[in-house]
Amino acid sequence: MRRYLPFVIVIGVALLAVGGGAYLYRTKRAANPAPKISKTETERPGEIVHVLGPANATVTLEEFGDFQCPPCGKLSEPLNQLQKQYNLRVIYREFPLAMHNHAKEAAYAAEAAARQGYFWQMHDLLYREQAVWSISTDARALFSAYAGMLQLDLDRFKKDMDSNEVQQKVEADQQRGAAIGVKNTPTIFINNEAVPGIKSNPDELPALVEAALKKAKPSS
């Protein structure tokens, strides 16, 4: 028996390591669900927007957001839940505020990720890690790290972050927001109707979405 003891120990440890690792992976994977459908479509001629959910959804929720704005961060996950629950069409537009020192770069990072089809994954990551990169002295390095985590082409990501196209996209979203009166973030429109700032929170939004659904389908 003693002859086989080292084999038994080594095999036991191997099984434990693989089993423990697999268990941890499954647990963490469940906590971080698989990436959402990432879709970019043309809203107006020449305009590219980030859309989540079906094109024929009854309710469209459009958000003007700033990745460094804490209320936007708090709204991110509840909005994801709402999108799934009511099968909403969610549109995200960049509106980085000047008072947030890393907001513009974060918007560039999200747009650079969008160029590789990972806008929503980067969107979620930026909001989830907001507390970390917001206070970092080198947020850009963290954005690159996030891109690495999402398995993006890093050289392309860095180049895209500095590209005119990406910066113009952010600028275009901001101009569109400013043109329709957006001043703060998050500013939300439900079926093109502005939601009052005080109601743009996870507690009030479900009722507003339900009201919009009822309005769109009065018979149901």
């Binding site: 690792g21 941890l24 963490k28 990551l125 989830r128 890690e129 963290l142 690495g148 999402l150």
Partner: protein, 145 residues
């Protein structure tokens, strides 16, 4: 398969250290594969290291290679502890390779990324301990029961 008490204690210590390293590296690998980011409790430096391009070789996370290396050390230490002479050589080679890799990773953190990850530093400490044991082994092997 002759053994001395000194050898048994020596290889048991090495096996225990490598078990700790294996647990840590397995944890980091699972975290990496699951896409979890809050791995360092919100430490920006830590994430900068674990999310960098140096944290993987192709699609393989460095932590996964670390887990394999620690498992190798554990296996060789166990067999060496039971008196398998060949396992001692493999043990030394593996620890030496890990030591070199650790030096490289410390260099990367200090001079390329300018950030340190606490998990990586802990692993480096474990590898240095194992290296210390390898260096001290001739003394252990001369201790007879």
């Amino acid at each position: 398969m002759s053994r001395s008490r000194g050898q048994t204690i020596f290889y048991s210590a090495a096996a225990l250290i490598s078990l700790v390293g294996l647990a840590e590296a397995t944890y980091l690998t699972a975290i990496f594969l699951s896409g979890e980011t809050a791995v360092c409790g919100g430490s920006a430096d830590c994430f900068q290291v674990l999310g960098s391009s140096y944290a993987k070789i192709g699609p393989v996370p460095v932590s996964g290679l670390g887990a394999l290396a620690y498992f190798g050390v554990f296996t060789f230490a166990t067999f060496a502890g039971f008196g398998y002479a060949r396992a001692r050589q493999f043990f030394t080679w593996t620890v030496t390779a890990m030591f070199c890799m650790t030096l490289w990773l410390l260099f990367v953190q200090a001079f390329r990324l300018h950030a340190f990850c606490r998990y990586c530093l802990f692993s480096a400490a474990l590898v240095f301990l194992l290296t210390g044991l390898v260096v001290a082994r001739p003394v252990a092997e001369t201790q007879k029961n």
